[in-house]
Symmetry: C2
Subunit: 206 residues, 2 copies
DNA sequence: CGCCCATCCTACGCGCGGGTAACCAGGTCA
DNA sequence: TGACCTGGTTACCCGCGCGTAGGATGGGCG
């Protein structure tokens, strides 16, 4: 339950950077479990085995703490997407890899994807910007490839990229929530096939 | 700016049901603009040209007021989706109609779609249930059609349905936010083509 | 005419939670 | 050994915003 497996007995003194990492870890747990609003600074401090002022010696406020975490995971998501697209030059494989990136992302880091995809606080500008950055940069990367290989306009390619990201994101979240009804590999292949061939590409029975 | 165009001079007495509708309308404005948390009951009352206790004579609390609105728009979305699928028996047309339903939904009712797709309050169970209902019932309707026409298992069809809904939802929201760079008709056709033929169905330049 | 009920108002209670002031402890180094 | 710096603690302040108590007002009906 504690942030780090080592159960320090509270009262342990830690070097500054180690403490900071531990606070980020505890904060991530609480923010992911409860969302921003229902998360209390008191609880984050408590979960880190520390008192509240320590938190404020590392972060100027609740929002900044949240943003630090959000940035971390937005970067993670965008990086995964870029790496997937760079992993091959075959477009069919690219689709598979990019969709796999979303499925990997949602199943990593103890549901931290909720910060990126399901944040309460969309209304607060700096948070909204970061959530949009995740969508924009993923879609942008995809639309680059689309534009290189098709006759689409920039606007059209962007919309297609956003659509594909949306498909991947929402299906990955759904897959995770229906824990185990379909193995990850099968799910990504199914969605990759949908993205590549469309819904008309599935076998007809009648 | 007021909820109803008739600018009643505050102090006007209204029959119960008329007042209720007006309060819902004012609440929708405020919740959509600010989200649940940043919305103050005082402001909702004020925007309706009424004092706070009136609000509490119609709704037991802030949450219930919010849920009443949320239910309204979740029903709206689900209905649009069902009607789109029932509007034809040609599956290609069905895809077009269903995607059109999402684009119509996001451009209706003064951005009320934000309640359904972007609610802060996902963490609160009754809200989460309603947001999931919107996704589930839309995807369910689509997966019905998929199962009838393909050899997919139920689990696979559901995942495909969710993916298509995600594609439509996210792209519709993006299209709305990029106000006017692509006309609605063109955008829906583009996304319908993506859903039907897949990304491989777009013309190659090289 | 005067009773009554529905509608609406002003003014307040109060809990919750972010942020802070003021103080303690223990290791290091001149 | 004692000054000092780093890291930690307890106990508090206070603003915000939901929800309410108690009172005014005005139209219909006996």
């Amino acid at each position: 339950m504690t942030a780090t497996p080592d159960a320090k007995p509270r009262g342990t003194r830690l070097p500054r950077m180690a403490r900071r990492r531990q606070l980020l870890s505890a904060a991530q747990e609480v923010f992911v479990e409860n969302g921003y609003h229902a998360a209390a600074m008191d609880e984050i401090a408590e979960r880190a085995g520390v008192s509240k002022p320590v938190l404020y010696q590392h972060f100027p406020g609740k929002l900044e703490l949240y943003l630090a975490l959000l940035d971390l995971h937005v970067d993670d998501m965008v990086t995964r997407c870029h790496e997937a697209l760079a992993s091959t030059t075959d477009n069919k494989q690219r689709v598979q890899a990019a969709i796999g990136a979303f499925f990997d992302f949602v199943s990593s880091q103890g549901e931290a994807f909720r910060l990126v995809f399901e944040s309460d606080l969309r209304n607060v500008a700096p948070v909204r910007q970061r959530m949009e950055r995740s969508l924009r940069e993923s879609a942008e990367a995809i639309s680059q490839v689309i534009q290189e290989d098709t006759g689409c306009s920039s606007d059209e390619a962007h919309l297609l990229g956003v659509g594909l990201v949306g498909m991947a994101e929402v299906s990955a979240r759904y897959w995770l929530s229906s824990h185990g009804s379909i193995p990850k590999e099968a799910a990504t292949q199914l969605m990759a096939r949908l993205a590549w061939r469309g819904i008309s590409g599935f076998p007809r029975t009648g």
